[in-house]
């Protein structure tokens, strides 16, 4: 029973508590680029989840075989194989999605959620736990993408589920091609600054929810992480600034 409970926890933590995008702040590049349309987000989320689950399982299986010194290249090879498979599938069955996602589909190879879960979880845990971790994280990623894309698409482009038929065509549904809601949308939200704006607001909302559940906020490690720290009047010259670089070094060492 206890094991089942912990397995369920591995799955559910990725949804909100350790949501990769909103709480761990990983994979922001594809998030900002793809969350312009809900259709693209669903496609990207499914593709990334597939790769994440498969690579987590394989890396977990190989975790005792891979020497720790070359584990990162080994992980990349595993991840890249699955990304290639997924990309071939997308090209074959949903070519419109392949065009819409462009370079971000092959870039799943270097998506830090996937590498991060391989490094932080699958390389150390059993196969079932890694499977559920990958599934939970993938769904959490998809969920964050869809939340952001809903806001950005409705307010920024005035549509909802635009060209969804490129996905539903797989199930034989082609009649529904999305709603048109606004005549004069706020175009900035579909651009890069709007992406950052919505990202920040959704992250603030996720922090608020986590706070209500009594969990710690996802915060930057003090002012030391800010590039303006040296010239900023708000930074007190105390131990924070001295310890922060040391922490970074530790992280680098553990990552290399």
């Amino acid at each position: 029973m206890a094991e089942n409970k912990s397995l369920a926890k591995e799955f559910s933590k990725g949804l909100i508590k350790e949501n990769p995008v909103l709480r761990l702040v990983l994979g922001t590049c594809p998030t900002l680029a793809v969350s312009v349309s809900v259709t693209n987000s669903i496609g990207m989320g499914i593709a990334a989840t597939l790769v994440l689950v498969c690579s987590n399982v394989v890396i977990s299986l190989l975790r005792k075989v891979i020497p720790s010194k070359i584990r990162i290249p080994a992980y990349i090879v595993v991840i890249a194989s699955f990304v290639t498979i997924v990309q071939m599938l997308v090209k074959a069955f949903v070519p419109a999605l392949n065009d819409a996602l462009g370079v971000y589909l092959p870039l799943i190879v270097v998506n830090c959620i996937i590498l991060g879960r391989a490094e932080a979880f699958a390389g150390k845990n059993s196969v079932p736990a890694s499977f559920l971790d990958g599934l939970g994280m993938g769904i959490g990623f998809t969920f964050a993408l869809i939340v952001m894309a809903t806001i950005r698409e409705i307010l920024g482009a005035g549509t909802f589920l635009d060209s969804i038929d490129s996905l539903t065509k797989l199930f034989g549904v082609t009649s529904f091609t999305g709603f048109t809601l606004l005549k004069q949308p706020i175009a900035m939200l579909t651009m890069a600054p709007g992406g950052f704006l919505v990202f920040g607001l959704v992250m603030a909302a996720a922090n608020r929810i986590a706070e209500h559940q009594g969990k710690p906020k996802a915060e930057l490690s003090g002012c030391a992480a800010c590039p303006m720290a040296a010239s900023c009047a708000l930074v007190k010259k105390d131990e924070k600034c001295e310890t922060a670089p040391a922490k970074e070094n530790e992280k680098e060492e553990s990552a290399v």
Binding site: Q184, A187, M188, L189, M228, A230, S231, C232
Partner: protein, 330 residues
Amino acid sequence: MVNGKNLYVSASPHARSRKTTRSIMLDVIIALIPALIASGVLFGLRALVVTAVSVVSCVVFEWAFRKFIVKRSNTIGDLSAVITGILLAFNLPSGIPYWMVILGDLFAIVVVKQLFGGIGQNFVNPAIGGRIFMLLSFSSKMSEWTAPRAGFMNLGGVDALSGATPLVSDDLPKLMDMFMGVRGGCLGETCILALILGGLYLLINKVISPAIPVSFIGTVAVISAIAMLVKHEGAEYIAYQLMSGGLFLGAIFMATDYTTSPISTKGKIIFGIGCGLITCLIRLFGSLPEGVSYSIIIMNILTPLIERVTTPKPFGTPKKEKAEKKEAQA
């Protein structure tokens, strides 16, 4: 910031000043009144209504955000939100729909100003932030200029009256018309005379220093003169470059915002030259007709770096280069 925990008070005597945030903001509002009157004369009642809508919504957003969301002391009494409202309205064409004005105010006050901590903490000028938000979002409505003097009571649609701004039009108005503001453009930017009057008021009351406006406008003049020689234009080319777009409005009222411009005079001059350079680069080589707002926002973001290299040395401390040379010799 106000609670004084980090504020070290030296021994007396202390120089006292009667200036408060509120009195400075009031001075800026007074300085903006000539341009407001000019916008009413030129673009009719709708210009005044747009300004009023903008001011009211800025104040309401500031009050509501601090009251209900961050639950901190209210800052609408310092009148800074009023100025943001007026300046944002001055950067809009008079035919702009009211709901767009309100959205721009929401962005300026909540996103640019309050999310970063309120007055004194905003990372760029809120009015310019709001303008660029609207420019990116509603670009077609933001460049539909109303022809001036179309009738004072004209509150309705203005599509039939729209004309191009002199920066993109071949059909140039007379120089005197440019100076008095009889041309298409944003509400507050066209009447150069009113803007200069307001600027002089601010200079006489020592609300702003001349460093930023002079270096900003001067840089644009110098680069326009070079461009005039290259393009074989007449001398009036410089005058048109200076008086079109929002150069005077930006240089006098928006680039001089205390929070987002450098403190030292040297820093201010660097800031002004940078603004002028970027403005001219955008005007002459960019795909946009006007670059004043982008130039100010870029220099706003660079301000902390300018401050870092222009920090004045306290009297009596050795100069860095000399100390380094001595070390090298030793």
